[in-house]
Symmetry: C2
């Protein structure tokens, strides 16, 4: 049978998806653990921002990614999108209570990152040094 490989792939994928369904917290973890998500939430920390302001605050984010990230956050009820119908259009984004509660977690992550930045950097140097010595 020639389809064996592809069938196995399908099966594996199915199993994977099944496990995701069984543990729904993972879905959220995945949705959260995107670079842009954290950056957007942090940017919205102290009040609503317009789309263009968000772009300024998050250099490196393409418009496309920003929009799609915001859509996803909106869908999850983490940010609120308010459109003012004028010419030109104006849209503001702000955190929902749920978004703010997540922001607290992200703050903890950020804090941890800042506290452990140096240690991790040192560890990397050490590790790379060893690998180099044996190669």
């Amino acid at each position: 049978m020639t389809l064996t490989a592809e069938q196995k792939r399908h099966e594996a994928r199915q199993n994977y998806n099944a496990s995701l369904v069984l543990c729904p917290a993972r879905q959220l973890l995945e949705a959260i653990s995107s670079k842009w998500v954290t950056l957007v939430l942090l940017a919205l920390e102290d009040g609503p921002l317009r789309h263009s302001d968000l772009r300024k605050r998050i250099p490196g984010a393409s418009q496309k990614m920003l929009t799609s990230t915001l859509r996803s956050l909106e869908r999850d009820g983490l940010v609120l999108r308010h459109v003012t119908v004028s010419v030109p259009v104006r849209t503001d984004y702000e955190l929902t209570p749920r978004g703010q509660s997540l922001l607290r977690i992200i703050f903890d992550m950020k804090e941890w990152a800042e506290e452990n930045m140096d240690g991790v950097a040192a560890s990397r140097l050490e590790h790379d040094r060893h690998r180099l010595a044996f190669s």
Copy 2:
């Protein structure tokens, strides 16, 4: 000049990298915000595990991803790798203190995810329902 597009790409990439260097916490955030990282750390929660045990605990993780995730965690000083030279080889992984401190953050994330799971799901349904109504 025919290289304009590619040059722009390079330039943009450079700017992006530059901003990463300027805000080193982002590097850590990126390193952390991988699905496998969180799953591995959670798996190591209550004590050392062998490579094969980790695979059992994390269905869906290919050997390759598991190994490379572990390597990265080891490099960052988050897990410790202990090799017992026998036949067959035996390797155990355990959390370092730094890894345990990160695990606390991940626990908070997990807790948040579990608390907000239902709300997010509801929000998604609502959102999708609206989009459907207008299409």
